[in-house]
């Protein structure tokens, strides 16, 4: 090995660095001022979805809690009335809690949900200062509504929202 060999190798390496610096696009973002968009099937914090009319999709069936391998979900159901309606049909979740410290973001709850009410969203910014904060209640999980008159519970016309589970359609093929 010649005397200049290390210098040649070093400059070749630095040259590569210099070329990347000038030509390649930037891959880092300045988080938190800038946020990277997540992949379409990213599994972040859960969101409880609503129908277009603002009624909650969740019917409190507790299947998500049954599917949860980490036992992170707790659901308690109550009965809807037309005077005080949360969701279509007879049943709604009066308590819905997810312990985010327990959650492993596997998405089984999403798979188990018969009404597509619970969906793993794109929020990954979860931090807590105590354990109690890690328990997300129904209020914090529910999707916001565009207008205040769509909030739940609300009074609905009698006899319209009779079914909890959307009607199954005949296979079309």
């Amino acid at each position: 090995m010649g005397v200049f060999d290390p210098i040649i190798e070093l400059s070749r390496g630095l040259g590569e660095t210099l070329r990347s610096f000038l030509r390649e696009p930037t891959v880092t973002v300045s988080y938190p001022e800038e946020k990277r968009t997540v992949r379409p099937r990213y599994r972040g914090r859960h969101v409880l979805k609503r129908y277009d009319n603002g009624l909650e999709k969740c019917i409190g069936c507790s299947l998500c809690a049954a599917a949860c391998p980490a036992d992170a979900i707790f659901v308690e159901a109550s009965e809807n009335t037309d005077e005080k309606r949360f969701s279509p049909g007879e049943r709604y979740a009066s308590t819905y809690e997810i312990n985010m410290l327990r959650c492993i973001y596997c998405g089984f709850c999403e798979d188990a949900c018969p009404t597509e009410a619970i969906v793993l969203g794109d929020n990954y910014e979860l931090s807590f200062t105590d354990r109690k904060q890690a328990i997300y209640t129904k209020d914090s999980l529910l999707e916001p509504v565009p207008t205040a008159d769509m909030l739940t519970p609300r009074k609905t016309e009698a006899g319209v929202f009779k079914r909890s589970v959307p009607e199954m359609k005949d296979p079309t093929d």
């Binding site: 308690e76 007879e90 199954m168």
Partner: protein, 815 residues
């Protein structure tokens, strides 16, 4: 023993008694045939067609009637079409195939057909997770339907059949299990089908809706979520519930129950009882439970629960420490030993009563049972023999029910006695008024009030009825205090005891006397030595009273007056009552759901219950509180382990001598097999894994001399021309503290009433529905008049625990 029949099911040889259905025969060897309408406790119906199997029978030669042999084997001829396993009874040499392609195709097709109009709203259905239709669809059904979803029949989601049971007509598969249960088992045909075809649905035929105290059982055996209880509506999912074995505390039957519990946000994060389910015990409650037992558990979670010991300070009850409270009580109890009275009720467990009795005895006080019914010493002598099972009584046996309205007092006994009558047992009902059991009785004796004992004594005269009773293979007498007070029922018990002894119906299984007590463990209280007191007012006045599990102040103004004149009143209970309000010191006790112990049923079966939910506040079990007070009085009683108290009880109470705590937890196989993964077979009843209990042998069975205690009979009051006789009767849903907190049952309680014959009412100048004032012996009350022409004239029936303090027949005035 009936003839055994041999057959083969899926290649397995099976031997079952003649008359067994194929589906039941298969069950005995562990082969499950899918069923919906079939239930082992009901007659076959063949309505759902899910149990299709291939059945082959040995071919008979038409000429000789002999079995045709082929290669040394009987030639089996299979029917060209599938047959239902639930309607065909086994025959010799039968060959059944349940898993052939043909059979499976048939079963699959039936399930597919049943689902054509099922809404599939399992996520919101209370049955989801323990649903036979779900399970059988997974196991036998098709993965896809060939039917059109849009053609599903839709009805309004739920309708209330009654206050307690709700019906979802879409989910119903028309198996008629509920209708058949009401017709065949309960004997109250209050349900029926309406409309036809796809519109067929269940309706209630009674007013008020679903008027039966057994209605809850239909939700257990319903194979879909069509019938659900209003009480458990959306309460929890089946898989989230924990189960703990318990014993019902509502009446002396001692039904085995399972408490389903869950942590609940609505209850502030506490673990609470969500529902009470029956637990199989074929010798006690089979797989049934009455509505009171099923829905009246709410009192254990009432807001009125006592959670801290309290001492009266400046006219007000103030929180105190256990030490201070027990010390205060102990000081007052020890002041004058003769003035120390323990007043306890049959609400308590055997161990509590034993400790309280020991405390009273050692301290030199008296132990009084809070009850208006006597005869527990007679049942200890000639009670039903060990091994008694009313479910096995039938043809050739006799059952006499005297001065008791079993339907209102002990519904499950009513059910079992009724079924024994269905099987051919001679049922004799003796009462002064019409009861629901009369319909099933072979003989009805209608005596007039005051003639109860005479009626029993008349059995020694020759008559058709006395003959039927005397000659019966086995005979059981149920006696109660319907229309009687303490003295009346004590004399009646002795008379019944004498009759059984004379006719030699004592000391054997299925023979003897059963007391239809007011409380679950009155028999246990008698066993450990508690006795009721005829003049309770005198016994309490001026004394230092220790009241445990009773509310005398709330029950009677006379007792309230007596207790106001007491030197010192210590009250130990689970709930705030009128008695705790006048107490000098209050001890919070644990409810039966929070602790363990044992009860003695009316059939003298000792059964254990187990803790299901955490203790409320600082409450302690009754036996432990008694021990703590005893300690302050210088008396040593066991107070930390129920087991040890039970062992001491066994050593000192003779009738318990053969028992051990472990023996009570023993189980053996029972038929029908229920409560396993195959919920479609027996319903959602729980299998018994925590103990069937053990029956105490009566003295008559131990081969010792039987002495029926003689009770001095007081002159019985009889209705007279110019007087009105008020008579106490028993009612299932009353204003008692255990019923009231249950929203569903509350609606069935009704108003305080008195029942009069129309002639009596006319004479008194009152009309049906009128509000009247009734007064007797210093008791005043208001009630609505009901007209009942089945009762005799000159009497007014006054229900117990309905606001009017009546303990025994008494001359009354009505305004």
């Amino acid at each position: 023993m009936s003839k055994q029949v041999n057959l083969t099911i899926d290649g397995k040889p099976v031997s079952v008694p003649e008359g067994t259905l194929i589906v039941d025969a298969a069950k005995t060897v562990g082969i499950d045939i899918p069923v919906f309408c079939h239930h082992p406790k009901l007659e076959p119906a063949g309505m759902c067609r899910a149990c299709l199997v291939e059945v082959g029978r040995p071919m008979l030669d038409r000429a000789t009637g002999q079995v045709v042999m082929e290669n040394g084997q009987p030639k089996v001829q299979f029917m060209p079409k599938l047959e239902t396993a639930c309607t065909n009874r086994v025959s010799e040499g039968m060959v059944v195939m349940t898993t052939t392609t043909k059979a499976l195709d048939g079963q699959k097709g039936t399930v597919e057909f049943l689902l054509t109009s099922h809404p599939l709203d399992c996520p919101t259905c209370d049955k989801g997770g323990e649903c036979p239709l779900q399970n059988l669809t997974m196991q036998f059904g098709p993965s896809q339907s060939r039917f059109i979803y849009d053609e599903k029949a839709h009805f309004e989601k739920h309708v209330a059949l009654g206050e307690l049971i709700w019906l979802d007509r879409e989910r119903c598969i028309q198996c008629a299990r509920c209708i058949r249960f009401q017709d065949e088992v309960a004997g109250e045909a209050v349900l029926g089908f309406d409309e036809r075809g796809r519109n067929t649905h269940i309706i209630s035929l009674s007013d008020p809706g679903f008027d039966s105290v057994f209605s809850g059982n239909t939700t257990d055996i319903c194979p879909v979520g069509a019938l659900t209880t209003a009480d458990f509506r959306f309460g929890a999912r089946a898989w989230e519930l924990k189960a703990q074995a318990s014993i019902c505390t509502q009446c002396p039957v001692g039904c085995n129950t399972t408490l389903n519990t869950r942590r609940e946000a609505k209850a502030g994060g506490d673990v609470v009882v969500k529902r009470v389910m029956p637990r199989q015990n074929e010798e006690v409650n089979e797989i049934w439970l009455c509505d009171k037992g099923r829905f009246a558990y709410h009192f254990t979670e009432s807001k009125k629960r006592l959670t801290k010991p309290m001492i009266r300070k400046d006219e007000k009850l103030a929180r105190a420490s256990w030490d201070a409270a027990t010390k205060l009580a102990a000081e007052n109890f020890s002041k004058d030993k003769k003035d120390f009275v323990v007043l306890a009720s049959g609400r308590l467990a055997n161990e509590d009563l034993f400790n309280l009795k020991s405390l009273a005895d050692t301290a030199g006080g008296t132990a009084i049972l809070y009850s208006d019914m006597g005869g527990g010493d007679v049942t200890a002598m000639v009670g039903v023999g060990q091994g008694t099972n009313i479910g096995k009584m039938g043809k050739g046996d006799a059952i006499l029910v005297v001065a008791s309205d079993l339907y209102e007092e002990a519904p499950i006994w009513w059910l079992r006695v009724k079924q024994a009558a269905d099987r051919g047992a001679t049922l004799i009902v003796a009462n002064a008024r019409e009861t629901k059991l009369d319909r099933f009785a072979k003989f009805v004796i209608r005596y007039s009030y005051g003639d109860e004992v005479k009626t029993i004594n008349d059995f020694s005269n020759k008559s058709k009825i006395s003959d039927a009773f005397a000659k019966a293979k086995n005979a059981v007498i149920f006696y109660g205090n319907d229309g009687l007070g303490l003295n009346g029922s004590s004399v009646l018990a002795s008379a019944c005891g004498e009759l059984l002894k004379e006719t030699d119906h004592v000391g054997k299984p299925n023979n003897g006397l059963v007391g239809v007590w007011q409380k679950a463990n009155d028999q246990g209280a008698w066993e450990v030595g508690f006795r009721p007191e005829a003049d309770l007012e005198k016994a309490l006045k001026g004394k230092a009273v220790y009241i445990v599990g009773a509310d005398p102040v709330g029950d009677s103004p006379l007792l309230a007056k007596a207790l106001n004149g007491a030197k010192f009143v210590a009250v130990q209970d689970i709930l705030e009552t009128a008695t705790t309000e006048i107490a000098d010191v209050v001890f919070p006790a644990q409810a039966y759901t929070e602790r363990e112990g044992s009860f003695t049923s009316g059939e003298r079966r000792v059964q254990r219950f187990y803790p299901a939910v955490p203790v409320k506040g600082d409450a302690k079990p009754d036996y432990a509180i008694a021990s703590q007070i005893a300690k302050q009085m210088g008396i040593i009683l066991e107070g930390s382990s129920v087991r040890v108290v039970f062992d001491l009880l066994v050593n000192s109470v003779e009738s318990f001598a053969e028992l051990t705590y472990e023996k009570l937890a023993e189980v053996h196989g029972q038929w029908p097999i229920v409560g396993r993964g195959d919920l479609y077979y027996g319903g959602t009843t729980y299998e018994n894994t925590m103990g069937l209990g053990a029956q105490l042998p009566p003295v008559a069975q131990n081969g010792k001399a039987v002495h029926i205690p003689k009770v001095r009979k007081e002159a019985a009051l009889r209705p007279k021309e110019k007087e009105l006789l008020a008579v106490p009767v028993n009612k299932l849903y009353d204003l008692g503290v255990t019923v009231n907190p249950s929203q569903g049952l509350k609606q069935r309680v009704g108003e305080s009433f008195i029942a009069l014959h129309s002639d009596t009412a006319e004479k008194l100048g009152v009309e049906a529905g009128a509000q009247v004032k009734i007064s007797f012996d210093g008791v005043n009350g208001e009630a609505i008049v009901k007209i009942d022409d089945t009762i005799s004239t000159g009497v007014a029936l006054v229900p117990r625990s309905m606001g009017i303090a009546i303990r025994e027949p008494v001359v009354a005035k009505i305004k």
